[in-house]
Amino acid sequence: MSVTRRKVLAGSAAGAASLASGLASPAIAANEPLRIGFLPALTGPSSSTGVAMNRGTELAVKEINDAGGINGRKIELIVRDTQSDATKAVNAIAELTHRQKVHVVWGPLNSGETLAATPLCARDGIPMIQPCWVDTLIDVKKYPMAFRNAPTNMQIGNAANHYVMDVLKKKKVAVIGDNAGYATATVAAYVPLLKEKGATIAYQGNVDAANPDLKPELLRMRDAGAEAIMPWSVNAGFLARILNARGAMGWDVPVVGQTTLGSGQTKALLEKPENWEKVYSNNFKNCCYDGSGKLPEKAAAFREKLAKLKIDMSDTLLWWIAVGYDAPTLIAETVKAAGDTPKGITGYWNKLTNWGGIYASLTFTPEQHNGLPDAEVVMCQANSLKDGAFNIAPGYGA
């Protein structure tokens, strides 16, 4: 009996809560701006991704508003800098959903923050789209309103593993990461995948990112007979140290791994340009130069637009800006077609098929909220970086 009473009370409390937070519901005048809550990390550690995506997002919102908005309705982008701090992200998501009463949330852009933000968004029933790779972030049962417009960690890992084993034909692999959350989790997740594919793990380890000397680790890899190094880290300093140590040892082994391997920051930290040879980083087909050195049509036009607007490309990657640009574009299109209610937005997304963004073509179903097709995750040649994009790595039939 007490159980039923408890349930009733719990139910009514939840009802009250949704009443309180659900004021931004249907009947509000169509002239009210559409509020998008955006949670990039613009300052603090690992903010280069956030800064780049923010450029794309701001550009898209400006374009939509300049063109008259969504059926005359302007977009209001409410940005909260999370500084890569989960605590700040939790506060920010509360502010966006409860006080600003946003219609939809875009971000956060770092997995540590998104892991905290997703259940909170789900609790409040706000649709959310985010680009972080951690697999558990998408769970249609637990978080029916959360969608991903980027690859999962599995897709990234599979692409890299496929490249090492099937294209480069290397069977003995060394997997290394730093000691940050992303890297420890990723190394732990990819090693079993490699084993499943029949690889031998010659070395597996997470190393203190502050450790200035990675030569012992590389020596161990070499002694164990590793034929390829797969580093997983977003720390440019750490990745550069691996590449420099490899160069200093004169070890001619391919390095296949995280996108940051190809970032401008990693490049700046290399002791010699040669150290960037035979380095293959994750990237996306739609933002890579094909065999003939050309970008796909949409990406080429986008880059031309960026150049015209004098948006700085020297310190960033094209695909980051493209992801940032795609999200508000998709949201605007969705609201135009299905209204701004949570139900309308998620309903539209649940049926989204092959939506052609600059960065990716997204497909969602009610059972699958990971939108990116496997085939669009590729590897590229790190040292081919030019204007924020790379040559697709050899071995992908263009």
Binding site: R6, L9, A10, A13, A17, A20, S21, L42, T43, G44, R80, D81, Q83, S84, D85, A86, T87, K88, V90, N91, A94, E95, T97, H98, R99, G112, L115, A116, T118, P119, L120, R123, V134, T136, N179, A180, G181, Y182, A183, T184, A185, T186, A188, N206
Partner: protein, 584 residues
């Protein structure tokens, strides 16, 4: 009385009303921020006793928050154990926090300020690294979901009230400790460790108790933090958080409950208001801290302490009332403190060289001699600060073990110091109450909850201390902060503190230094009256007049040996003494 009760609590009451009424705003965002402030305060309230009261520089307390968060999250998720209720998991977090509090705090017993600060930082790093590495339990870098508390404290306002109730409880409990003899002992450890020892405060046991409490609260705070965050990763427990906890206390002011509470609210709310400045937030914290250290080292609490800014009366007189002493000291039985053949050398220097001396209750025994003759050394041997290489001490025939100064109060041996050891941040009354610490009967837990025995203790100590203050003539200054007193008043305050112990033997180390002639006269009368009330007084002094006026017996030391001993009249006519020290 009722008005005064209110005066100290009005800010707390206003805060409580605002906090209870917060849901009326119907702003869940404000609710999240307020919940966060409550959760931080639960940790900070406990840490406040460590940092603000005991003065230990514990910077890495985020380690305990991390442990609590993971304990609650992991137990609730049921990855290693059967799933258990979050409420039970919270209790488990408190237990683990308490144990870890002792481990993190243990170095404080051996290490000085900066060293201890560094070890706490070391622990913070170790805990994070273990959370990263122990994937099966903690989820490694990927983290683990936080617990969701079921009805009645389910997410939203229910959870807010849960945290609020716990925060209020912590405020009440730590305030109880602060006002108890334990709180006074902690501040004494911070400001005047030697005085604390002389009053019988057992530093290791007390600090460990406080670390247990602080650790338990940090564990609970961690469990709630995990729930508020909804998901925890090792990256969330960063150094900034540790700095926030630490700075909240110092901005609030040491030795206060209200100050750090306001500091916590300030530091939780400020970054939200200053959202555009988010990149500069740590910079601004640091600037704020620097400004406070330089401009108002006492913090918010000092700014609010308007009572201690009222000017004191300019020309104050100390008028002792020796008539009160028999009632206060209550020492009918006689006794003897005997040193025999005590020898103590520092390196090659013999400070005391085979000294034998008897002190009797009811007498004033003067100890004189030139500088370096071993007077203060003798005193330090009796009070346990020095451990002689040879000889023994007996109290009423029983051996008085050397060393262990904190055990002297138990033998009813009290002392004062050449430079008064005041607890600057505490009131004069609290300084004096410290003297009676060992006569408190209630335990730490009883004080935490203000149980009857604690209230009886407090009443008894307060009465006794007031009596002692009146006896030495400082009763009008009872409520004043001790660091506002004049030098001569501090000397009398130290005597009052010693009297609160009801000492069988009282050792005074140059009590007349820096006093005016009139004050010395009053001091003399007071000392004499103390001895007549049954306490044996050992007086080390340079003022020959005072010695010869009030002493029953005088011993003259030279190079650690007795040069002469006898009644003042005998000493006055002792040729060697006269020629060497007393002049013509």
């Amino acid at each position: 009385m009722h008005l005064r009760w209110l005066e100290g609590r009005v800010t707390f009451l206003l805060l409580a009303i605002a906090a209870i009424g917060l849901p009326l705003l119907d702003d869940s965002y404000a609710g999240v921020i307020a919940t966060r402030a409550c959760i931080y305060w639960i940790l900070i309230a406990g840490l406040n006793l460590v940092v603000g009261y005991a003065g230990q520089i514990a910077i890495g307390w985020v380690a305990l928050l991390t442990l609590g968060a993971y304990t609650t999250a992991v137990l609730t998720a049921g990855t290693v154990t059967p799933e258990i209720s979050p409420y039970l998991a919270l209790v488990a977090s408190a237990a683990i926090g308490a144990v870890s509090g002792v481990i993190v705090g243990l170095p404080a017993l051996r290490l000085r300020t900066f060293y201890f600060a560094m070890t706490t930082l070391g622990f913070a790093t170790i805990v994070t690294q273990i959370a990263l590495a122990w994937k099966d339990v903690t989820g490694g870098g990927m983290g683990t979901p936080g617990p969701v508390f079921p009805w009645p404290f389910d997410p939203g306002w229910g959870f807010y009230y849960f945290c609020l109730i716990l925060a209020a409880l912590c405020t009440w409990m730590t305030a109880n400790i602060a006002k108890s003899r334990f709180g006074r002992s902690l501040i004494a450890i911070r400001d005047a460790e030697v005085a604390a020892e002389a009053s019988g405060v057992a530093k290791p046991a007390l600090l460990m108790t406080v670390f247990v409490l602080s650790g338990a609260l940090a564990g609970i705070s961690g469990g709630l933090f995990a729930s508020l965050q909804s998901y925890i990763t090792p990256d969330a427990f960063n150094f900034d958080l540790s700095v926030l906890f630490f700075i909240a206390i110092l901005i609030g002011g040491r030795g206060s409950i209200l100050g750090p509470l306001l500091g916590t609210i300030l530091l939780t709310v400020l970054p939200e208001i200053a959202a555009p400045l988010v990149a500069w937030s740590t910079f601004l914290y640091a600037a704020l801290l620097l400004l406070i250290v330089l401009l108002i080292p006492g913090g918010i609490a000092d700014m609010l302490d308007y009572r201690n800014r009222r000017p004191l009366q300019q020309h104050r007189e100390i008028v002792p009332q020796p008539a009160l002493l028999p009632g206060l000291l209550d020492r009918p039985d006689g006794g003897t403190l005997a040193l025999s053949n005590v020898a103590l050398a520092f390196g090659g220097v013999r400070a005391i060289d085979g000294l034998s001396l008897d002190f009797h209750s009811g007498e004033v025994h003067g100890l004189i001699g030139p500088n370096g003759s071993g007077k203060t050394t003798t005193l330090n041997v009796i009070s346990g600060y020095y451990r002689p290489q040879a000889g023994e001490a007996r109290l009423n025939g029983a051996v008085l073990p050397f060393g262990a100064p904190q055990k002297r109060a138990g033998f009813r041996i009290a002392r004062t110091f050449q430079t008064p050891r005041l607890i600057g941040g505490a009131s004069v009354l609290e300084n004096v109450m410290l003297g009676g610490t060992i006569d408190g009967r209630g335990t730490f837990a009883e004080s935490l909850l203000t149980l009857p025995r604690h209230r009886r203790d407090e009443h008894m100590l307060r009465e006794r201390a007031l009596q002692a203050l009146t006896a030495v003539g400082l009763e009008t200054l009872a409520g004043v902060r001790a660091d506002r007193l004049q030098h001569s008043e501090l000397r009398f305050m130290e005597i009052a503190r010693a009297l609160t112990l009801k000492p069988a033997f009282l050792m005074l180390d140059e009590p007349a230094a820096g006093l005016s002639a009139e004050e010395i006269r009053r001091l003399g009368a007071l000392i004499k009256a103390i001895s007549r009330a049954g306490t044996g007084v050992l007086l080390v002094e340079h003022h020959a007049d005072l010695i010869f006026d009030i002493c029953d017996r005088v011993t003259v030391l030279n190079l650690g040996k007795i040069l002469a001993a006898g009644t003042p009249a005998e000493i006055r006519s002792h040729r060697e003494v006269v020629s060497a020290y007393l002049g013509a």
